[in-house]
């Protein structure tokens, strides 16, 4: 029995490459919480095969298993068959959506909000053009920072001002990246293309964003012209334009955001900024490529709030084990996740984006 699902050959190859060794059990954050095989990469790839071969209908339970994977990619690091799980499951989500299957309700709502309002929060349109004048830098904060972590944007602005870098801000449109992860490939590509063309028309030399997911979406269109705030800040420091006025003598640990680390390979820049700040950096057992997902990436906290919150809480407990004063990250979604979780389980632990730390010391 065939399912009518049409997946590109390279995605099929990845799905069939899984030989079900189960090594992903040690890495998958949803499996760590749910404990049953259907919530890890092996289970999801088994379900992908069963769907493709038409042995099972895409009902709510199976869709939850597939769509609750927020592409953190931890499984890929431990996979001895090097299955590109993120690409495979994203292709499966796209094939399901393309075949007319309705994704889980919260995802449908996010999709509608982004198409209607240009952002997932559904609160009016963002400014789709640089706010003021021309600048060397165009800052694209991304929707999570704009809506939930405005303090992060103020911190980046303070850094740019301290370094005397002229800049302007572009609020929208959406980069499309959550939609890509949720299976709306066409819409995601159209949005990314639209955003890229807006950016192309700006004369800014550098485009910077604190959001790794926005960066990932824009890279294919803008190449190295778009970069993460951490790599840009490091450059400013190397060039002597950004100077820290004081240092801070606390113990800190750094949470590698999944997309920034595993997808974009940016591990050093945030760490170098932390060292520059004078903070003593202690690593968590799961760091760099083995970092554990905070749960919030690709707006997963709106689609699967309970799972996402539990993932964030567990990460906070790992940070506490290391015995630090500050937990630092470099992504608006991680910042939001970990701040919320710390408020719940570890009020004494400060959570900051690396930009906030640098802004504090540079002004």
């Amino acid at each position: 029995m065939a399912s009518g699902l049409s997946l590109p050959e390279n995605a099929l190859r990845e799905i069939f490459r899984c030989f079900r060794c189960g090594y992903c059990r040690s890495a998958c954050p949803t499996f760590a919480i749910k404990g049953s095989e259907s919530w890890n990469a092996r289970g999801r790839l088994i379900l992908a095969r069963e769907l493709i071969e038409g042995h099972v209908e895409p009902d709510k339970t199976i869709l939850d298993r597939i769509f609750s994977c927020n592409s953190c990619g931890a499984c890929e690091v431990v996979c001895p068959a090097v299955v590109r799980v993120v690409d495979a499951l994203t292709a499966l989500k796209s094939a399901l959506v393309a075949s007319g299957v309705k994704p889980p309700e919260p995802i449908v709502k996010i999709h509608e909000a982004i198409l209607r309002h240009g952002n997932p929060f559904g609160r009016g349109q963002y400014q789709e053009g640089p706010k003021e004048g021309k600048g060397e830098v165009l800052l694209f904060p991304g929707c999570v920072a704009l809506e939930l972590e405005p303090g992060l944007i103020r911190a980046i602005e303070a850094i740019l001002e301290a370094a005397e870098v002229p800049y302007s801000i572009l609020e929208g449109p959406c980069c499309g990246s959550p939609l890509h992860n949720m299976g709306f490939k066409g819409d995601a590509e159209r949005l990314a293309e639209r955003l890229a063309s807006k950016i192309r028309s700006s004369s800014a030399e550098h485009v910077i964003t604190p959001c790794p997911m926005c960066l990932l979406a824009l890279r294919p269109y803008l190449g190295q012209r778009v970069e993460h705030t951490t790599t840009f800040m490091r450059k400013l420091m190397d060039e002597g334009r950004l100077v820290l006025k004081r240092k801070v003598g606390l113990k800190a640990t750094y949470h590698d955001p999944c997309v920034l680390g595993r997808q974009l390979g940016i591990y050093e820049a945030p760490r170098e900024l932390i060292w520059q700040s004078g903070l003593e950096l202690l690593e968590m057992p799961r760091s760099r490529a083995n970092s554990a997902c905070c749960g919030y990436g690709y707006l997963n906290f709106m689609a699967y709030p309970e799972l996402a919150r539990e993932m964030a809480k567990r990460r906070i407990l790992e940070a506490l084990e290391v015995g630090v004063d500050v937990l630092i990250t470099a992504c608006p979604s991680c910042l939001h996740a970990l701040s919320e979780a710390a408020r719940e389980v570890a009020r004494a632990l400060a959570v900051s984006d690396v930009s906030e730390v640098i802004a504090e010391l540079a002004t």
Partner: protein
């Protein structure tokens, strides 16, 4: 099929949150790391010995099959519920109950993960030596049921050599304790050894007492490159028979090396096979002396030896070995990992025969594995979506089993018979032995409810 009533009763035993009849769960618990697939009627997660006992009593009464499962990393179909029924997942019984430093013993529940136990032992300077490759995820219960091995087995043996005592729930629901806390014991039949490697067919293991060993403080590593497979085999035989007790004696043939070279960007000298020897111990002089002796023996067999002078060089050698699986997995869409095992003296002959089999069936077979104990892993690389190639791969596997038996070896060194090799079981075992095995099974499991269809098949 599983009736509604039975499901309600199971829910009564373990709570509704620990029972699932959902198709999605059943599909995911239908498979392990082998090619086998069979859906259970219901998946159950017990948390205590009493619950396991109640489930088995119930199943025995209703003559419903029960298949125990750990992390499902099995490579032979052991936890695949070929007759449906109840799939009993042991992963929620995951507590380390005691670490006894004086007697060097650990008492654990079956769902404890190998890595979890070894992490807990590290502060005491102790470890559990058998090291299955799946250690980051596999459960101790699964290791015991399958008599798992690993790289270090060449020196330290397999799980069989480290289990002291067991609590087992028999298929009738009765709970039995067997074994002793002492290193020596002759008090009755050795039922511990009967249950180790019984592949979940005789009872469900609910507590395991393991012997531990002091963690060696030093190691020395070398690689050796052989101009031919026979030279490689000879070198292994010499090193093993000289009593040098390497803690690892591994091999990778040239196809594996080519794949690793491409995958991990590593370069190797031109050769037919690379050997890796590791020596561990408690003084540097001891490990170095044994390594020097092994070096001489390898060079006498015309191998080019490279001794790791630094920890980084040692890690590089191991990185090559650990890249074998991923590197091979990228070569072709599907892979079958066999573990036919031969006496150490026959390793060279087996390597040559695997080459011939590869040629005969026109499928790529790369071999790596634990050469020191003759436990080779020929990996058959193919495309399972091409029926003709799939068929040739299966025939090649069959010929590998036959070759191992002809050379005085066994079908499986560490993966188990399960379903995958059940139809070859009689190649290795005579009718009298099989009669005895069946009699033991019947005595413990009169209704044949526990993991039916495994080992000798039907």
């Amino acid at each position: 099929m599983i009736g509604e009533d039975l499901v309600r009763e199971l829910e009564g035993i373990v709570g509704p949150e620990n029972v699932s009849t959902d198709l999605v769960e059943r599909l995911c618990y239908a498979r392990d790391a082998s090619e086998n697939r069979a859906l259970p009627g219901v998946v159950v997660w017990p948390q205590t010995t009493e619950q396991v006992s109640a489930i088995l009593k119930l199943a025995n009464e209703h003559k419903v099959p029960v298949t125990p499962r750990g992390a499902g990393t099995c490579l032979s179909g052991g936890p695949v519920p070929i007759r449906g029924g109840i799939l009993m997942v042991m992963t929620k019984m995951n507590h380390i109950l005691d670490i006894n430093i004086e007697d060097m013993l650990a008492l654990v529940e079956p769902g404890v993960v190998w890595q979890q136990l070894n992490n807990a032992l590290e502060p005491y300077g102790l470890f559990l030596p058998p090291d299955p490759a799946s250690g980051s995820v596999c459960t101790i219960g699964g290791c015991v049921a399958e008599n798992a091995g690993g790289v270090r087995a060449v020196k330290y043996g397999t799980f069989r050599d480290w289990v002291q005592w067991l609590e087992v729930v028999l298929p009738t629901g009765e709970v039995m304790e067997t074994g002793a806390r002492t290193r020596k014991w002759v008090s009755g039949y050795d039922l511990v050894r009967l249950f180790v490697g019984s592949e979940g067919t005789l009872g469900v293991i609910t507590k395991i007492m393991l012997r531990l060993f002091p963690r060696p403080r030093h190691r020395a590593v070398m690689s050796a490159f052989a101009p031919g497979l026979r030279e490689a085999g000879k070198a292994i035989f010499y090193v093993m028979s000289r009593g040098l007790t390497p803690s690892a004696a591994e091999i990778m043939d040239k196809y594996t090396l080519e794949a690793v070279s491409k995958y991990a960007g590593m370069e190797f000298p031109d050769c037919e096979a690379m050997l890796i020897f590791e020596f561990d111990g408690f003084t540097t002089s001891d490990v170095r002396a044994r390594l020097r002796e092994a070096k001489k023996l390898c060079e006498a067999s015309n191998l080019k030896v490279k001794v790791a002078e630094t920890e980084a060089e040692a890690n590089d050698i191991w990185r090559a070995r650990k890249s074998a699986s991923p590197a091979l997995a990228r070569l072709r869409p599907s892979s079958m990992h066999e573990d036919a095992t031969v006496p150490t003296s026959k390793v060279a002959e087996m390597l040559v025969r695997v080459r011939e089999i590869s040629k005969r069936w026109g499928v790529l077979i790369a071999t790596f594995g634990h050469a020191g104990d003759g436990n080779l892993h020929p990996v058959i690389l193919f495309d399972e979506r091409d029926p003709d190639e799939h068929d040739r791969a299966m025939r090649a596997a069959e010929d590998i089993f036959k070759a191992a038996i002809e050379l005085g070896g066994t079908l499986t060194g560490e993966h188990g018979i399960g379903l995958s090799k059940a139809r070859f079981f009689s190649l290795e075992h005579g009718s009298v032995e099989i009669k005895v095995l069946r009699a033991i099974k019947k005595a413990l499991d009169p209704n044949e409810i526990l993991n039916p269809g495994k080992i000798w098949g039907d």
